[in-house]
Symmetry: C2
């Protein structure tokens, strides 16, 4: 196991990365102000891992309230959140009861937001069970639920007391979900670390085959980079926007196809291709760099071609993005492989050329 | 106008207190990151004051989205909060749109919580229109909505960027609501300032008659004391509990009679009497001090006798209080008039004697 330390102005917390951490109650105990927790999970993850975590905690004398929610992004809503509040209030959970999220990003986002709001703030621990949650959503303190009019529109910045990323939990993850998580891993390489990018090119086959050591290294480097950026900009006013590489295009794909048609990570994969293509269009990266990007995204099992939404739909969906400032489109683009920058004055013609270019599929209907 | 400065570890903001402040857009403009605001108010306050605030802002070039909610504590719910989110999202309000609460504590608590959650945090300004909101709920950053299983159970600590307390708005406040606000004013005198308590004894008639100067002084001193306590303990882990003087008993009255039968401030009035009686029972304040307390509460137009809930119901409702730590009853009691302390080892017999004593009405059915 290795432990990273995320330091923020008001708080700091450990990110533990390793194997078989689920059974180790000692990673959790130091963070409990009271020997009472609620484990929030879903109907898919509960049969796989709830008993182990609950058993380890109970053996250490901790009272456990399990809260099992329905599975799916469609349930990342106020109504589901309310199931958490109902369970907590029915069991008279006090403000010091710790909420433990055991699941992917959906469970992590909802549990974190529930913890942020329950009696104005209960302690919270993340046990991410998807690769995406381990490298992205569990680190950094963004929590949210969806609103019918927009994804992640209602939420809070609220930091966990600890993150426990157990590589062995990824053994049961569907392959598509693993690839989706790899999209975010590739993102870190592209946006800020050329060496890590090269390591990913050399090791993508091991990652896709779920080699625990390779995964642990990828999670570690991803978390380090995210922690570093979050520490500089907890409330997302500046540099944190770099983490949105591929996401402005990606969100448009998700919205354009209807959320759920593609996984988020798949949309980010194709979105990063478009961001790279736009960077190439602006003369920042060359054709070889573009080809390297494409090979890596493909090796992760991700799409490298976005669906053909039509230029109007692209612009419409991109302008709905939460990152829009005073109506202006902002992109995260690549100055080089391993070096991203925030750009809000992209020439409309350059964008149009990319949206009419080879990284948009024209052969398939959606 | 006088301006207090509330300094917290992460933020500071002004509390403006005076007359005819509603028409002065200059108190608001410096706090707007974008010339766009949503004014959240209710069906009672909107006809009285919305046009004035909206007009002043529009004249200064600010785009205004008015959001008028139904009036009443019964609407302090997620469903009503969602009306705010719906309106913001329908008008494509960005994360920098400022939410202005124009109303009493219900509007302030809901608007603050909506601002805390909207896109994980939008700017927020308080324009409190009840005395209670001016001296209590608008200052300190507690926001919340109710849950069917408990009041204020879901919320956030979230600070406004400014508080604007205009005494002239109190002219239209129902007398019962004015008295309810005075309960919290008396609370500040009792818990920490014997001089202010003496000033209140001398000036209660002017306050009840809504003399603007007297009100401004009372609001100022109350806000100073609250700001002071909040600055020491923003997240309510210690000294902030002093602000709950009268509230453990008061909440039991509200819960026991059914919320809404008595106003919160009325319950706090009778609750402070019981806290004073318990302090007397423990030998901390003498009979003369108890009598002074009673005269002041009565002069504010507040009940000095609590309803007879029965000992079991008292204990049951008090143990539901959010301030309970690990199942233990905590009281805020008076070491002297003007000096409160937190006590969690009150002898059950002393409590029983108070609950069987003269400050409980036995003559009326509820
Ligand atoms: N907070 C943030 O900073 C942040 C960042 C990125 C994404 N997100 C959010 O994260 C969510 C996506 O997260 P996700 O990709 O983890 O999706 P997810 O939580 O829906 O998990 C994907 C699927 O895998 C299942 N699953 C989880 N762990 C498993 C395991 N170990 N074995 C077998 N199945 C398992 C889940 O039940 C689900 O069916 C979105 O809601 C997104 O908005 C948040
Ligand atoms: N956040 C905190 O720290 C805190 C502290 C104390 C109380 N509270 C909350 O505050 C709420 C109570 O606040 P409140 O006492 O202001 O009640 P309220 O907001 O319900 O207002 C009382 C009534 O007066 C009306 N009103 C408001 N201003 C008026 C005006 N100028 N003229 C005429 N009518 C007016 C309102 O529409 C309402 O009908 C409760 O929900 C309580 O939980 C919060
Ligand atoms: Zn992402
Ligand atoms: Zn009160």
């Amino acid at each position: 196991m290795i432990t990273l330390d995320l330091s923020l102005p008001d708080t700091r917390y450990p990110i533990h990365i390793g194997r078989d951490l689920l059974d180790d109650a000692n990673l959790i105990l130091p963070h409990l102000p009271q020997r009472k927790v609620a484990i929030v999970t879903n109907t898919t993850v509960a049969p796989l891992y709830l008993a182990r975590l609950q058993g380890a905690l109970e053996a250490a004398g901790v009272a456990v309230l399990p809260i099992v929610l329905p599975d799916g992004e469609a349930y990342k809503t106020w109504d589901t959140l309310n199931l958490i509040f109902d369970a907590l209030l029915s069991s008279r959970a006090e403000r010091k009861t710790t909420l433990i999220a055991l699941g992917g990003g959906v469970i992590g986002d909802m549990t974190g937001f529930a913890a942020a709001c329950y009696q104005r703030g209960a302690p919270f621990i993340q046990v991410p069970t998807t690769l995406l949650a381990q490298v992205d959503s569990s680190v950094g303190g963004k929590t949210a639920i969806n609103h019918p009019k927009g994804k992640n529109m209602i939420g809070a910045f609220y930091q966990p007391r600890a993150v426990i990323a157990d590589m062995t939990l990824l053994d049961t993850l569907p392959q598509r979900e693993l690839s989706a998580g790899l999209a975010e891993v590739i993102k870190y390489g592209l946006l800020g670390d050329a060496d890590f990018l090269a390591w990913l090119e050399a090791n993508m086959a091991r990652l896709v085959a779920r080699d625990h050591d390779a995964l642990a290294h990828a999670v570690r480097r991803s978390c380090e980079m995210k922690a570093d950026i979050v520490a500089q900009d907890e409330k997302e006013s500046g540099v944190r926007a770099l983490l949105n590489l591929g996401h402005t295009f990606g969100h448009a794909i998700e919205a354009g196809l209807g959320f759920g048609a593609w996984l988020h990570g798949e949309a980010v994969g194709a979105g990063m291709m478009l961001a790279a293509a736009l960077s190439h269009e602006l003369g920042w990266i060359d054709a070889a760099a573009l080809a390297r990007t494409e090979r890596l995204i493909a090796a992760a099992g991700l799409p490298t071609r976005a669906p053909d939404l039509g230029v109007d739909a692209w612009l419409e969906h991109m302008s709905h993005d939460k990152k829009v400032e005073s109506g202006r489109l902002r992109f995260v683009l690549l100055k080089a492989l391993g070096q991203a920058a925030i750009v809000d004055d992209v020439a409309p013609e350059a964008l149009q050329r990319v949206l009419a270019g080879p990284y948009i599929r024209r052969d398939t209907a959606y």
